[in-house]
């Protein structure tokens, strides 16, 4: 008994010593480790899986080294499942010891990871998920919301449509948190501009038949039909709107549309529709052309705006670590808060300290008709832009109370 306990204490001492040595060794030269957690096999995979490549490219272009150590990189597939995202974020923060997680599409998944970031006191850049809760009631010191949110998507195109397409609108809304959020902001924009909402239809998520809603919209005879949905719902609704002849009478405005959707559905489906974008690959922001060229060479197609946003977020994070001279979370956060920059995504861009929203110009895109498309993947034309002060909600009104570290 005696012998055994002394043995244990020796072992414990040795272990403690080892830990101290490891800690001393590690304190000096621990490399920055970044992770991308995204949907690589689920419904958003077609848009977000390549964010992994965007992050790698950002690291390469940065020089691959930071604070004298090579930057480490890892990615995980959250399969578009919030529970998997939550578990994987723990793996990344705890086992893989990453300093920061990027992306995490799907609002439920994004909110869960944001909470994990706060619990682990590590950084999280939300890119794919658009919920305004990130920079609103659920904001926290460790989470940054990059490139866009639902408020911006609905407001920018709403403001533009009121001035250019007419003031009689009809909305078809995906009946879940995201759609409701968009509708709220779109209605507010409509009020501001003195527009008239002729009607709204809530459509269950995953409904395959949009014809009844299209019929109701046609009876109301609006100048613009606003589709507050995305992905396959957006494609189904637009296909069926064309089928019933609605596109001959009214313009269609989308909440979210990617070049990948145009490729998937065929350009004739979305011809002459309008949508907000955070970026387009024909943009002339600093570094944009180089990024697109490199991407084209590697993947034989241009990047979508989620890719550009990921590239931008990773780059700005690395620069912030460089400015702070440390990868220590509070120091990096302070270097990011209130920072102004110009890069491929945002020219200029600004990280609001009040709610951690990264704001920039919002672009209004028009989908080209098939005969206008001269170059593969050139599905859009930039027809206007909305300044950040108008495109994003005033931080006083977002409901964010930024906490301490």
């Amino acid at each position: 008994m005696q012998r055994r306990s002394s043995c244990t204490s020796k072992a414990a001492l040795l272990l403690a010593l080892c830990t101290v040595v490891a800690w001393l060794a590690g304190a000096e030269a621990e490399p920055v480790k970044i992770a991308v957690l995204t949907d690589m096999s689920g419904p958003y995979a077609g848009i977000t899986a390549t964010n992994v490549e965007a992050a790698k490219m950002a690291i390469d272009d940065f020089g691959g080294k930071l604070l004298g150590e090579p930057i480490e990189y890892i990615h995980r597939d959250h399969q578009c499942k919030p529970d998997v995202a939550n578990q994987k974020s723990k793996e990344l923060y705890e086992k893989e010891k990453v300093d920061v997680i990027f992306d995490v599409p799907n609002s439920a998944a994004g909110l869960a990871v944001s909470n994990q970031a706060k619990l682990h006191k590590k950084l999280f850049f939300s890119i794919g998920s658009g919920t305004t809760r990130h920079s609103g009631p659920d904001c926290n010191r460790y989470t940054f919301d990059w490139a866009y949110n639902d408020y911006m998507l609905a407001t920018a195109v709403g403001l533009w449509a009121a001035d250019n397409l007419g003031k009689k609108w009809f909305t078809i809304t995906a009946d879940y948190a995201w759609g409701h959020d968009l509708l709220k902001h779109f209605s507010a924009t409509k009020k501001k501009k003195g527009g008239k909402l002729l009607g709204n239809e809530m459509v269950a998520l995953g409904a395959s038949d949009f014809s009844p809603y299209i019929l109701k919209a046609m009876q109301a005879n609006p100048e613009a039909l606003v589709l507050l949905n995305a992905g396959k719902d957006g494609i189904n609704a637009t296909k069926q709107a064309a089928e019933f002849g609605l596109k001959k009478k009214a313009k269609i405005v989308h909440a979210l549309l990617f070049i990948d959707d145009c490729k998937a559905a065929g350009p004739e489906v979305f011809a002459d529709d309008y949508v907000t974008g955070a970026w387009y690959w024909k943009s002339d922001n600093p570094g944009s052309k180089e990024f697109v060229e490199k991407w084209q060479k590697k993947f034989n197609r241009p990047p979508n705006w989620m890719n550009a946003a990921t590239y931008s977020a990773v780059t700005q994070y690395l620069k912030a670590v460089e400015r702070a001279g440390s990868k220590d979370a509070p120091a990096v956060i302070k270097a990011l808060e209130g920072h102004k920059f110009s890069d491929l995504l945002a020219n200029p861009g600004y990280i609001r300290p009040e709610d951690h929203m990264q704001v920039g110009k919002a672009y209004i895109l028009r989908a080209k008709r098939p005969e206008e498309i001269k170059e593969p993947w050139d599905y859009f034309e930039i027809v206007g832009s909305i300044p950040p002060e108008e495109a994003y909600q005033d931080p006083k009104d977002t409901g964010c109370k930024m906490d301490d570290f």
Binding site: M40, S41, A45, A49, R76, D77, Q79, K81, P82, D83, N86, Q87, K90, E91, E94, K95, S107, A108, L111, A112, N115, Q116, L119, T131, R133, D138, Y176, A177, W178, H180, L205
Partner: protein, 309 residues
Amino acid sequence: MTENTSSRSRAILIGALLAMAVLFPHIAPYQALASEVLIFALFAVSYDLVLGYAGMLSFGHAAFFGLGAYGTGIFLVKMYPSVPLGLLTGLAVSTLAALFVGYASIRRRGIYFTMVTLAFAQMFYFIAFKWTGLTGGDDGLQGVPRPQLGPLDLGPEINLYYFVLVLVAVSVALIFRVVNSPFGKTLQALRENHNRAMSIGYDVDRFRLIAFIISGFFSGLAGGLYALLLHFVPLSALHWSTSGEVVVMSITGGMGTLVGPILGAVAIILLRDVISNYTESWNLVMGAIFMAAVLGFRGGIMGLLKWRR
């Protein structure tokens, strides 16, 4: 094989499983995954009571898992931060739901029973989906706390794991007791020969209903623990795919063996996690594994073990 050696080999198996369970978080890819494996093992075992022992294919067990999670989560978020009270609330909700769904569907047989349970589960799903004020809807119920439990800080994943382990081990032991009790034997007799049992005078439906409620109770516990593990409740906990998942775990492991579903849960969750780190095509790999498993070693993992013996 005599009764004696079989019970001895079972004791060895249980001992080995427990030893594995204690070491598990240190060898699992990460600690939180170990807790997830245990939680789904409990869910699969309690499901096996219905599928394997009572012979009823329920396709609505996500309802009890999900309601357990929501009951626990909502109590912790909106009422009072206490883990035991939260779990009890979740248990109460899921058991009541099992009573209700069971009572309504138990007289249906075969595929019709399956479909009634599916229908009820879908209704719970849509209610949770719509009632955003209470459940958070599609965004999930965010920010479920893990309050201190007496001297135990449940915050670190390793502490939560051992807390989950104790509850899961006790639950599994209780389910073993139920299965080996006269009640359990009767249940199996009913599964084997429904008509004869009826003619002897057994109230078949009552036995089935009790098994269904016990199963709902433990599924609810698994759900409550899941809410604690995740710090939130995903709406998908109530989705039919969660029901499908537990069916697949039970069958893959070998239904009607209790140990089988545990192995099924362990294998499926670990494999999916590891494979998805290496390839985006993990669905293809999982699909191929299921097909190969059925073609190759009929009777699930337990069938394989028996066959090799």
